[in-house]
Symmetry: C2
Subunit: 199 residues, 2 copies
């Protein structure tokens, strides 16, 4: 709440609707707007409208895109043999950064979470089974987060694709590179033991 | 970084310029924009522009205002006898909520901090000495935060007003109401001892 301007109060309440933005952050953001150059805020307002006007989701993989198909789906040099299933569009950037994956993606925009009322219909599986069947895909890597919901979603994907000649894999669980065993939780260390590899 | 849309990437970088907003928060905010109703984002964009157009600082106290003088400075029922000096506009709301203050304000928009290059010229002292002299003010309450910078600013205010027949006070330091002595830091407990009062 900022005392003295209904417009600023309105801006604070709009900022507060954003995920992860509380009252205090929203106030600080609104005061940033107040002391910023007018041209900077006009650009922000314009970009907000432009995003609503020109950005949508790729019709194939549901990644963010300014065209019907995203830059990855429309890149002929990438392989159809592997499809990586992720929770959020941001995850694609993290995976691309590794340089270790040259296949396609599917963005679910969430994970299965019955507790929060998120079932398969709420996620963007699209016509995954058909896409795998027709696209000659040989492996689906489920790169959901290593949480209960992430695991449940991975299980759902493997059931969805049952009967197809496609391998469904999960990202390895184990020691974080550069981490210290001394400070590791027992679940991760247990998974690292189970998944041990020859030197 | 969001892979696939230069517009979203631009929006993320604009959000990141706001105080307290890091890369991950900015990404989450940008994706919120993407999945929001168009009308909601248009309202946000419009409100941003409206704030730049109609909101400024009160010419007397530098509180936020949509008129030359803010709602508090233009309220004839409030007393000119006391002026409360605060760091930020948000602090006014916190003080008004107590219902214990019926005077006027001065918003500095910061604190003195030589380490960060913030001297008196960077703060909005305005013509405080003149305002106190002409307004018949009898007490200036310095309600800056209980930090080194806040204390230095309080000291500066009292020096600035030296020679005037005005009392300069600080907010009391002591036990937070409802708090537990067991978990209190020694500086606060020391101040609470020093400032002890008769029952």
């Amino acid at each position: 709440m900022i005392f003295g301007s209904p417009l600023l109060t309105r801006l604070v309440s709009l900022f507060k609707q954003m995920p992860g933005v509380g009252e205090k952050s929203a106030q600080r953001m609104a005061l940033y707007v107040l002391r910023s150059e007018r041209s900077a805020i006009e650009e922000l307002a314009r970009t907000l409208n432009d995003v609503k006007e020109h950005v949508g989701l790729c019709e194939v993989c549901a990644n963010v895109s300014e065209a019907p198909q995203c830059v990855i789906c429309s890149d002929a040099r990438r392989s159809d043999e592997t499809v990586c299933v992720v929770e959020q569009p941001q995850d694609i950037y993290m995976l691309e950064r590794t340089g270790a994956f040259r296949g396609r993606y599917l963005v679910l925009h969430g994970v299965l979470s019955p507790m929060d009322g998120v079932g398969p219909e709420e996620l963007r599986f699209g016509n995954l089974r058909q896409r795998i069947e027709q696209g000659g895909t040989r492996e689906v890597i489920v790169a959901t987060n290593p949480t209960v919901e992430g695991e449940a979603t991975a299980l759902y994907v493997s059931q969805l694709l049952q009967g197809l000649s496609v391998r469904v894999t999960r990202l390895a669980r184990g020691l974080p590179v550069g981490g210290s065993i001394e400070f590791l939780d027992e679940a991760t260390l247990g998974r690292a033991l189970e998944g041990r590899q020859d030197v």
